[in-house]
Symmetry: C2
Subunit: 383 residues, 2 copies
């Protein structure tokens, strides 16, 4: 087993195609990681996740430490074995979720004390504890423990928060047990302040991680400001390490971020949307609860090979959601994850073929043509 | 395509092994039909239903006529195509569900007028309408429209109800469009009154159906009375036609009914139990929410090849139910249906091998040994 690393295969503008090499297998990038919060990608079997072409999934430290508990996951053979995913798993540090608890958490310089949203029990996370928990979960990629402030925030508060996160990053690195094929990512903070982002990147690069995440975005600042932040942050990052934009996003967000040099993504959007009747397609989004789908015999996407598109009509999916049948969320989550994976493969192929700008135009034109009718359904040509 | 028929392959006592030949494929009997109420076996893809070995599934006329509507199902290519089940489908007549509506329905000699439980809209079912709807759904096996009285009932009320059902059976037969490989079953009524059951069987045999169902049982009378009713009813039925006991039941119910000459079953038990953390196994039932499973690394059943048993521990299933994850119901429904199908295969093989009594003893001994511990888990030898 060799060391965990990312190798660049091709570039197109700032966009990069590459390969992540890990103890649990290789992952072509750019890649989208389905979110498996509590040790399951909601409404999916792992066989169906695999069938979409996903190469790496994400687990949430906060949820798993509370239930079933890190020691229990370890006793069950680790997260890979417990959830039937032998491939790479990235776990977040718990920082983001804990910060979202509001009144239920108390921050100090050493870490955070918080109450479980499940039973009110008291718990503590520090850089050391978070790193140890991720070790027990057997995370292929461990994330540094950070503080993620809500935006908007004053520059002064952003600076204090970022500096705390950088001290915690150093402690996280110290606590990380290096193993062949395993890696740890530092997380760039600093909100939408350029000087803070620059400081944060330098601080993390000085510590040295196997990869770098950009945190603190997609928290309400809007796509334009997020892209602007990526424009100046991504080029500062070490070019030979993978870059991961946390918690992002829509298909359009992913495309724009890849164009700005990002390699990895995670987001609950495709899975959450799948449970609420919202479908992502080459031609924008559809709400399957809408009455206009009731008699539509077409599949969601003619080019999609997911089970929903291969075997069922939009009318059937509409029926399942109207009847509150579990199969609705099952099929639509599958479809959305299949679409996200197909999108990443399309983008990756375009980078390698050095024609990302053209592919990007075709993708955006497709997403903009939301109002299709049964008679006109020209799909963008991405062959 | 030849005519719909059932052929007996072997008998053991009153128990029969046979083959149901239909336009949509052959089904070895005894068989258990998973319930696909609204055009989906809840929490299952049809691929997973197929993987359990199920040969025929059931659809509910009442639910489907209200949503998505019989004409819409027909426009979508029929129930087989809509739900991705090219195999045989049996639809009930809607009679049982309508009777359960209580104050929302009004019975007359011609049929039943009722209000939808979904939106309160008014609908009507008669023998003719029910038969036509099942035709539109493209049911492989159409059920006669009957009245199913709740037990206990006075003999006089049971007699009146049964006589009405027999008149409706004749009208249902009249309305049925005969097609190669399609069949219609009459339904024996009469509660637990022997003379009424005898009268009902004669009336139906005089009309002539491709198969015969025993209705009006498993409605509160208890297993002993149900078996007693089967003891005198089944032998009266034409020996060359399939026999279907409606809405039954537990594994022990199925075994006892097969021993009394029944060939076909349907029940929501394995699917409903799967959604509420209850597992059926060779060693009785387990409640996966119970804390004793939290650290249990064993599969539910060592001999089961369902996804839950092949890849996951009881501890993981426990975790999924505690965390209200959709994958819990998905995996446990799969397991329960796999168990029911395996049970039917075991029973069928025992009939063919002419050793059903011995197999039945081993099965019952297994179910009775509910309280297993990790150290002692001797499974009944059914090889």
């Amino acid at each position: 087993m060799s060391a965990f690393h990312w190798r660049c295969s091709a570039t197109c503008g700032h966009a990069r195609a590459g390969m992540l090499k890990t103890a649990h297998g290789d992952v072509p990038t750019p890649t989208f990681m389905p979110v498996g919060t509590a040790g399951t990608v909601k409404a999916m079997t792992m066989d169906s996740v695999r069938s979409t072409g996903a190469g790496i999934v994400l687990g949430n430290t906060y949820h798993l430490m509370l239930r079933p508990g890190a020691d229990r996951v370890a006793a069950l053979g680790g997260l890979h074995k417990m959830m039937d995913w032998p491939g790479p798993i990235l776990t977040d540090s718990g920082g983001f979720q804990v910060m979202s608890l509001g009144a239920l958490r108390k921050l100090d310089q050493d870490g955070v004390t918080f109450q479980s949203h499940i039973d009110g029990s008291k718990h503590r996370l520090t850089p050391e504890i978070s790193t140890q928990i991720q070790h027990k979960l057997d995370a292929t990629i461990t994330m540094a423990f950070d503080e993620c402030p809500a935006l908007p925030a004053t520059p002064e508060n952003l600076r204090k928060s970022m500096e705390l996160s950088m001290r915690w990053a150093a402690r996280s690195r110290e606590a990380f047990v290096q193993r062949d094929g395993y890696g740890q990512f530092g997380i760039v903070q600093g909100g939408t302040e350029r000087d803070l982002r620059e400081y944060s990147v330098r601080a993390l690069a000085d510590i040295g991680f196997e990869g770098y995440a950009i945190g603190g975005l997609a928290v309400g600042e809007g796509q334009a400001l997020m892209f602007e932040t990526l424009d100046y942050t991504a080029p500062l990052l070490p070019p030979d390490r993978a870059r991961y934009l946390m918690g992002v996003g829509t298909p359009d967000d992913l495309l724009g971020a890849v164009e700005r040099g990002v390699d990895m993504f995670d987001c609950v959007m495709p899975t959450r949307a799948g449970r609420t009747a919202r479908a992502y397609t080459e031609r924008g989004t559809l709400n399957l609860r809408n009455a206009r789908h009731a008699n539509d015999t077409r599949p969601l996407s003619p080019d999609c090979d997911c089970l929903a598109c291969a075997r069922h009509s939009r009318a059937y999916l509409h029926h399942l959601f109207r009847a509150d049948e579990i199969l609705g969320p099952m099929l639509l989550t599958w479809h959305n994850l299949a679409y996200y994976q197909r999108l990443m493969r399309t983008i990756r192929a375009a980078i390698i073929a050095d024609d990302l700008p053209e592919t990007a135009r075709a993708l955006r034109a497709g997403w903009a043509s939301e109002d299709w009718t049964p008679d006109e359904m020209p799909y963008p040509d991405l062959s």
